[in-house]
Symmetry: C2
Subunit: 554 residues, 2 copies
Amino acid sequence: MSDVQTVRIVPLGGLGEIGLNMMVVEAADDLLVIDAGLMFPDEEMFGIDHVIPDMNYLLAHREKIRAVLLTHGHEDHTGALPYLLREMKVPVYGTRLSLGLAAEKLKEANLLADADLKAVRPRDRLRFGPFEVEFLQVCHSIPDGVALAIGTPAGMIVHTGDFKFDQSPVDVQLTDYRRLAELGDGGVLALLSDSTNAGRDGFTPSEAVVGRAFDAIFREAQGRVIVACFASNIHRVQQIFDAAAALGKRVAVCGKSMMANTRIAAELGRLRIPDDALVSLDELERLPVGRRVIVTTGSQGEPLSAIARMAAAEHKQVQVSPGDTVVFSARVIPGNEKSIARTINGLYRQGARVITEETSQVHVSGHASREELKLMLNLIRPTFFVPIHGEYRHLRLHAQIAREVGVSEARTLVIEDGDILEFDGPDARIVGKAPVGRIFVDGKGIGDVGDAVIRDRQRLAQEGVVAVVLAVDRHCRKLVTEPQIVCSGFVHAQDSKALTDGLKTLVASVLESASEEDRADLRVIEQRIKTAVKRQLQKEIERRPMILSVIVEV
Amino acid sequence: MSDVQTVRIVPLGGLGEIGLNMMVVEAADDLLVIDAGLMFPDEEMFGIDHVIPDMNYLLAHREKIRAVLLTHGHEDHTGALPYLLREMKVPVYGTRLSLGLAAEKLKEANLLADADLKAVRPRDRLRFGPFEVEFLQVCHSIPDGVALAIGTPAGMIVHTGDFKFDQSPVDVQLTDYRRLAELGDGGVLALLSDSTNAGRDGFTPSEAVVGRAFDAIFREAQGRVIVACFASNIHRVQQIFDAAAALGKRVAVCGKSMMANTRIAAELGRLRIPDDALVSLDELERLPVGRRVIVTTGSQGEPLSAIARMAAAEHKQVQVSPGDTVVFSARVIPGNEKSIARTINGLYRQGARVITEETSQVHVSGHASREELKLMLNLIRPTFFVPIHGEYRHLRLHAQIAREVGVSEARTLVIEDGDILEFDGPDARIVGKAPVGRIFVDGKGIGDVGDAVIRDRQRLAQEGVVAVVLAVDRHCRKLVTEPQIVCSGFVHAQDSKALTDGLKTLVASVLESASEEDRADLRVIEQRIKTAVKRQLQKEIERRPMILSVIVEV
């Protein structure tokens, strides 16, 4: 970039998927990183713990990086931070709750001592080389969320983070309408705005409606009330405490992440626990059932969560019983329907009443719906609009919305991960492609499981594995003993005897019929055995397990 | 059953899950089977094609079976028929469309020639020993659905099948209110009623609203319109033809099952194709784009469906392009969100506009919601009420609904698969447990893949497989050559060298350190190697692949 008036944005994740959010804003010699998020694996990414963005672009430009800026404390915006900070030393800026939650993860990764975390407050302005960054309060499903107004050599760029326009937020911290409008009046080069709910009509309801639903449910409940929600949804936890306290009920917090997050939020003044409302689970269980409220995780039916263990009657301290009310205060994340259904069925079996968002307003989204997205566009009135945070369909739908409020197609730039978008005065164009991708984290391994390994796992999952082992003489390469067949995930052991006997005969004959020349290369024989076994199983039982073929020379 | 006045119902599937519907009604010497349905596997049932009910109860009472009665033609009510008819010869009664669709499946299984299929019409009454069965028309998402009114020695039993009270059905065939009310007046011993939508408030909208949505979408579309729906949803296909014909558009039917079902339904007079409306795909593609409508399957994003291939730009005849409108006219079945999202993203990438039930009323349910369930209860006013067709939570919610309209808890019997419920004059009680279960069908195998095999597949899916092969001398049982390690779905090959070298050393040392006594039993050594390898991998990279250990004696 020779011209100092140009600026580039480079999405490294989050433009083409939900999660994995990471965006670069780059001038000639300086670079800012907005968010460093992970993505939760989908059900086809077998065995993957989570997914992080490819950071090779950052590694290639490491000397230019001035800061990582966090928009809020959700893991899809902060969860890749440990991986980034393991590779490079760079200061991290965020509001206090965002940093508090990130610090917890850095502590687990033994990276906290070396981390340079710098707390900011809304309306703070900070200079990083040619950039001036202002943090602007926005409402979201976690407190302390911010948008970023980034003054650059080419003009003002506004990045909304994740946001909604809640008219009655639980913490009374409105989205900063005035500053957004002022920025709009001053002229904004580019608006980068959250597309997650671009498919949803109207306005997203206020988080306050959930509080009203809690009030009614808690009031009606004769027995214990158990509420499952995300540990990071501090607004939700606040409303549970408030509804309980108003009725003289007590609340126990259950589950590791829920306990950690409520502790951090309370310490930072982001969760106000009413006097005497909080008790331990042991203390709670000594109170009359009508005064007991439990807040916990497990809203997605995670098998090891407290709520799933309660549903399976395997929780050590809490036995769900008739009269109990269980509230699932979260949306159903696609892919989790079956595990949630299993949990709900288990709770019903034990006599509980179960309330979900299907029948009661016990959950609202944290993202802006179509009318709010229009409001953001109308406040900012940008020269260029770039939809961010969503799958391709969400980005396209958001582009349609922009057209409805008068942003022309030419000024709407639907870009995807890796597209290097350069703003140069009145022009904007894609000038290149950065390396991007989804890096799989599995146990201690980062990136050692790739697409080929996942494809093998998918194959193994479908039909299991059949290992064929032959011992051959190292000189004549004839069988020295009977072939062995070992299976897993294939068929019941009692059903496999006839099948494996047939395979033994088959592989012996493959070896025998091979010419001396072929036998010279055992890889050729192994491949031929694989093919023969595959064909035989397809014919006999119409299955295609993974075949492993091992020839031992003795 | 000594007393001829008693009658039993025995659910063999569908009371505790969605699908797998099969119910026995049994008197002293006679037995009727209602439906023989399959269940589609959930994502954790790796490699399973579909699931059928355990039929051992039927096999044990085969001489008593008088008939199989089909309530309608959906696979979750008819799909296990080939497996049943392979085991026993028994006549199958159903309406014409139900039999027509079942016949297609029996033909594929080479069972049609021997099948005894007997067509019935609504209000037909048939006697089977002590039972008199009347077939009563009900609305559902497929034409020709019926409820069953079964006169038994103990009293009248009404089985609703799957139903809704559509006030403006596409085929103008209303649910038979009058007969249901008459039966109610005459006294009904037990109502067995569909619980699928017991969690949904109000009334299910009429199928006609989808037709109105099609009208608007078809009218607005400048380009080609492609509608994806279930092949069995003949009402939906009818409305696509009607909307197209009204605007002078033509329709091509695409996809094997869609072509088969429309052909069968048209032959039986259940689908009325307007003159000239139907054309081949080749003919269609020669018309102006504004006159082209395609109806196809793939509403769940099935990877091999026509719509998924169009989305991936891999369809031979249809290239989706800007201006095209694609309508997903089906609900999102839990577990299919990701594949549907992938398809929609692909269609957007090619410039299509995509319409789903999220933003337009292009789908309605075929099952009764809460107010309709109340209406059914109020029409029938049964002595006993048994909720059927649903997961446990749906059955419980339906029981709550019954209480709201005055059916006491004592007369509401929430039973599950296998419960043998006996009606004996004024009493009803569970008198035993029939063998039940979910039998997995995988390729040609029926039941040879059980829970243990599935658990192995889940393990393989998570972490892959590591096979350890040792060749030992048959006398001294010492290694005769270096151990071999073969992996699949584990880590990238380039990352595994150091790891497998370490494992080779490890397993060699396990063998060496074993006492002579231990070596006598190679199973002991194999087990010890598995444990050592497992521990090592857990320590080194925190993974737990399936370990196969094979020792070859030479």
